[in-house]
């Protein structure tokens, strides 16, 4: 127990020193600010944020109504475009990147003809679950304008959670999380080790009462601060995508640990900033490409297999499972195992490198 307390105490002293030092270091501070601005930029400008844009609607017509929808532009300038679906399931699948699914009831034509207010069932995605009332009003008004007659859109509990293998904006969010966390890791964390080596302050640490393990743990804590600030901000901004918080929190921790491990490994291996610049691109590509393409059906089977087993792909899969439904326990456990083993190996290498420092 005392050993654990000593480890954590010394690691915290090293970590807190590095955090305070980073805040005094213009270069680190500007890197942190740039990364934060990048997260906010992607949040506002990428399509992962549900903007008020043109509305795509998938229509399942239960009664084979005589109506044929075409693209309609409303008075407020918003354009509604329609795609047919053959069943409710087909509608849900086709909604992958669409805003709205609607089910036209069998008696829809009759209600229209009799002048009653037809009731249409609307289906929306999980990300918009907090806006049901507003969307019901908005779509009721829009469809009333389209049909030139009052229409009632009821959404209620018709909230669709995307399937784990479905394409959609959760894919973009998943990838952006990988990008933010690992860009942060590679731009900030290697300096934690590199600077100690270059200024030879690591020599002084090695002759102080701290052990190599405590040094690694301390640096990991400082690295976690960076990831918490930038990755945590991204997670908070994209939190409306999260379906399974019990899964996403350990997954975020996994992202952080892998990223910290990679950052520290790079920092303990390289000898200069110049080397870091050279390796940065190679590392970024090898970390970013697998999660970007591992689900692509056009990829050759062998390459897809390699990409699927990449630790960043495993974490991306786990993040997708947190934003979707339908992932099986074996799928989750397999990806968890890949991520955990990778993290253990990488931290083992960092520890070994520090232990062998100048030996």
């Amino acid at each position: 127990m005392k050993a654990l307390f000593d480890n954590l105490h010394n690691a915290w002293i090293i970590g807190s020193k590095d955090i305070l030092d980073a805040l005094k270091n213009k270069s680190s501070l500007s890197n942190i600010i740039i990364m934060i601005l990048m997260v906010v930029f992607f949040y506002w400008l990428s399509d992962v944020r549900p903007f008020d844009k043109n509305v795509s609607v998938v229509v399942y017509d239960e009664g084979k109504t005589v109506l044929t929808f075409e693209t309609v532009k409303l008075a407020n300038g918003v354009e509604y475009s329609f795609r047919p679906a053959s069943s409710l399931t087909d509608m849900e699948q086709k909604m992958a990147n669409q805003n709205l699914g609607i089910v036209l009831p069998a008696d829809f034509d009759q209600a229209l003809a009799s002048g009653d207010t037809p009731i249409v069932s609307g289906y929306i995605f999980w990300v918009e679950r907090n806006k049901v009332t507003a969307l019901e009003a908005k779509y009721s008004q829009a469809f009333s304008e389209i049909l030139n007659q009052p229409v009632q859109m009821n959404i209620g509990e018709n909230i669709i959670i995307p399937q784990e293998n479905a394409d959609g904006s959760q894919t973009n969010v998943t990838y952006l999380m990988v990008y933010f966390v690992f860009s942060t890791a590679l731009s900030l964390i290697p300096h934690l080790m590199l600077e100690e080596k270059q200024t030879k302050t690591l020599d002084a640490l090695m002759t102080s009462p701290v052990s190599p393990g405590q040094i690694v743990l301390g640096k990991a804590l400082a690295g976690f601060f960076y990831i918490l600030v930038i990755g945590g901000l991204a997670l908070a901004l994209f939190s409306y995508y999260i379906v399974n918080w019990a899964l996403v929190l350990p997954v975020f921790l996994g992202y952080a640990l892998l990223a910290i491990g990679v950052g520290l490994l790079v920092g303990s291996w390289i000898k200069s900033m110049k080397q870091l610049g050279v390796w940065m691109l190679v590392l970024m590509l090898s970390l970013m490409i697998p999660p970007l393409f591992y689900m692509s059906p056009n990829l050759k089977a062998g390459i897809r297999l390699v990409f699927t087993w990449a630790p960043t792909s495993a974490l991306a899969s786990l993040f997708r499972y947190s934003c979707t439904t339908g992932a099986t326990l074996p799928q989750i456990l397999t990806n968890l195992a890949v991520a955990t083993v990778s993290i253990v190996i990488i931290f083992g290498l960092v520890f070994w490198k520090v232990l062998r420092f100048d030996r």
Binding site: K17, D21, T199, D203, S208, P209, V210
Partner: protein, 248 residues
């Protein structure tokens, strides 16, 4: 009991013997001068004795602890003044010392004491990057003394300093000896070693070529009363170097 006991200590780098089977011991409270030309193996020896570098063979005990098997126990017993000014430049002197004080579980009162001891109290809140070389060297000494070590290793503590500051640093070292601390001192400056050390060892090409008190070395190897320790050093190590040059 000896404070430092070294037996057949050897360190190879890529097959080249940087330190070649050295043996010596240092008594408690002694200032021991470890002298040698560049590349003789002084820093390698210090790195091994402070647990930063594993020996290829041989053994050594510092403050009663084996440098390989009892490294963690050894650390609180030693202080090291490195040959590089390895300080956190963006932090102040006080912040640098507070950081190490927390690692050694030492009170901040002790930080004030060592700052006073090395004459940095008035500039304690200045960032280290604004310090002169001499001030940085004083801070390195303060850091090494913070936890009141049994043995202080000083790797060329006056190198590159102007005469006045070097004299101040020598004054600090001399005062340390009066407190009973054992000091293991490497230096290029023979006069400094002569002035401070009770005994000196001359290291050349990884081997100790002489080990004695400066007075006895001068008496045995000197030609007359004017012979300095530097003359003896050149006599004992220079011939080896010349032989090396001829072979090249």
């Amino acid at each position: 009991m000896k404070t430092i006991e070294v037996t057949n200590l050897t360190r190879n780098y890529d097959g080249v013997k940087a330190v070649d089977g050295i043996c010596f011991s240092v008594d408690p409270g002694e200032i021991f001068g470890f002298l040698g030309p560049n590349g003789a193996g002084k820093t390698t020896t210090i790195r091994m004795l402070t647990g930063q570098l594993l020996p290829t063979s041989g053994t050594a005990k510092v403050a009663g602890y084996d440098i390989v098997t009892e490294r963690q126990k050894l650390k609180p017993k030693i202080g090291v003044v490195f040959d590089s000014q390895n300080l956190y430049a963006r932090m102040s002197a006080r912040e640098n010392l507070n950081f190490y004080a927390r690692l050694y579980r030492i009170s901040k009162t002790r930080v004030n004491e060592v700052l006073t001891q090395v004459g940095l109290s008035e500039r304690a809140t200045d960032k280290v990057m604004k310090y002169s070389n001499g001030m940085k060297q004083r801070l390195l000494i303060a850091r090494a003394l913070l936890h009141e070590p049994e043995v202080l290793f000083m790797d060329e503590p006056t190198r590159g300093l102007d005469a006045h500051i070097a004299r101040d640093i020598r004054g600090i070292i001399a005062n340390l000896a009066k407190t009973g601390m054992t000091v293991f001192l490497t230096t290029h400056y023979m006069e400094e070693a002569d002035q401070l050390s009770q005994r000196v060892a001359f290291l050349d090409q990884g081997r100790i070529v002489a080990l004695d008190t400066p007075a006895h070395l001068k008496a045995v190897h000197g030609k007359d009363e004017k012979t300095t320790l530097e003359d003896i050093f050149i006599q004992l190590t220079g011939s080896e170097l010349r032989k090396g040059s001829e072979e090249l």
